[in-house]
């Protein structure tokens, strides 16, 4: 799991990446002193280290609100995690192939609609039914799948096969699975941040394992310096992105992977072939909402060499590292206030 640190101000590492490749970095000087009312609340959720940062509110109020935000993140985790038997996703997956459609509530319907829209907008690359392929890939063991394993699973993958009508969803073939992992964490970050904002927080952020949604700038009005993990060196930052609002999400080939005979196999699987993507070491996207940023990083990884024009057309900012270590970046044309 990659780690992203929110350096509270003085980290001196500037954006790396020249035409020659990533150069040796400068020493990172991170100040841990926090002036005034600036509280960070760490917790773990969705298999990640998470933090809610609230500034310019008294300690008691900040604690109260942080608790609410953390509860919201846990609620979403429980509701949509395919690893929890009671979740909506597990119920849908359990009914696969049974011929029974499952009724879902408005929130779930909204997310499924979003996933359906994204499937169309990404030429079929973003596909929440591609979770079934995990049965073929064992990243912990570091083994390639058997030749016929993927062939057997591919018929179970394909959003077009899902029956999604009204508020009822049906997975027609047994073994089909829905997986909200591609955007669940990002959605939770947005929900938690919006919740805090509605309750009076105007300086702070929500960081769920590197998917970050900023609520408002630092107490002094300056943007937060959000660090992006270096895709190859665990204890270094690739870049710092200054942000006073909006969201930053990152996908990379270093989060869950194994290397065999000099080739790297990462957890982002192409739904059409069942094999991992190879074009990018890391893609970070800046967008108004974390849900959009996270979905677009996944699509970018899947689009391979066509990723950058696609992201530009979606009007978002990005930071991408290719397999030669070269950095590509674009400023968001519509930055936020």
């Amino acid at each position: 799991m990659f780690q992203v640190s929110v350096a509270p101000g003085n980290a001196s590492l500037r954006t790396e990446g020249t035409r020659e490749g990533i150069t040796e970095g400068m020493r990172v000087m991170a100040s841990s002193k926090r002036a005034g009312n600036d509280f960070g609340f760490q917790f773990s959720a969705m298999a990640s280290v998470c933090e809610v940062r609230i500034a310019r509110l008294g300690r008691r109020k900040a604690e109260q609100l942080a608790r609410l935000a953390i509860d919201e993140v846990r609620r979403i985790e429980c509701k949509f995690s395919r690893y929890r038997a009671a979740s909506v996703v597990s119920r849908i997956n359990a009914a696969a192939g049974s011929g029974r459609p499952v009724d879902v509530d408005a929130e779930t319907a909204g997310l499924i609609d979003f996933a359906a829209r994204l499937h169309g907008l990404s030429d079929g690359l973003f596909d929440i039914t591609s979770g079934a392929l995990r049965k073929a890939w064992d990243f912990r063991a570091g083994r390639l799948p058997r030749a016929d394993a993927i062939e057997a699973l591919l018929p179970l993958v394909g959003w077009n096969k899902v029956v999604w009508r009204g508020a009822r969803i049906e997975l027609p073939l047994q073994g089909m699975e829905l997986d909200f992992g591609g955007f669940g964490k990002e959605y939770a970050a947005d929900r938690a941040a919006s919740l805090l904002q509605e309750r009076g927080v105007s300086h702070g952020l929500v960081n769920l394992g590197g998917d970050i949604r900023v609520i408002g700038p630092r107490p002094d009005g300056q943007p937060w310096q959000l660090g992006v993990q270096h895709p190859r060196e665990r204890d270094r930052l690739l870049a710092e992105v200054p942000m006073a609002s909006g969201a930053l999400a990152t996908s990379g080939d270093y989060e869950r992977y194994f290397e065999l005979d000099g080739a790297r196999y990462c957890h982002v699987l192409d739904p059409r072939t069942g094999w991992p993507v190879t074009a990018w070491r890391s893609v970070s996207v800046v967008a108004p909402a974390c849900l959009a940023a996270g979905a677009l990083t996944t699509v970018a990884m899947l689009k391979g060499t066509d990723a950058l024009p696609y992201l530009a057309a979606q009007n978002v900012g990005y930071l991408a590292v290719d397999q030669q270590g070269q950095l590509h970046q674009r400023e968001a044309a519509l930055t936020l206030n």
């Binding site: 909006g246 108004p288 909402a289 968001a332 519509l334 930055t335 936020l336 206030n337």
Partner: protein, 72 residues
């Protein structure tokens, strides 16, 4: 006034040709740029307005509460 009319009309046409959608909350980044605020340099604007009010006859349009002076 006659000479100023075509200039002003062109401005109105240009304005109308701009994107007509009022910005959504996430589109307001450009509006927060320092040069975009209406009153971005209070002291400097005050000096300028004071000079023009003393050397010309017109005044007003910007705000209330300035107070007078015997400037010649």
């Amino acid at each position: 006034m006659k000479k100023a009319m075509p200039l002003w009309a062109a401005c109105v046409v240009a304005l109308a040709g701009c994107s007509s959608a009022p910005p959504q909350a996430w589109e307001k980044g450009s509006l927060a740029q320092p040069g975009m605020a209406m009153g971005s340099d209070p002291l400097g604007e005050r000096y300028s307005q004071h000079i023009y009010t003393s050397k010309e006859n017109a005044s007003g349009g910007y705000g209330v509460g300035g107070g007078g002076c015997g400037c010649n």
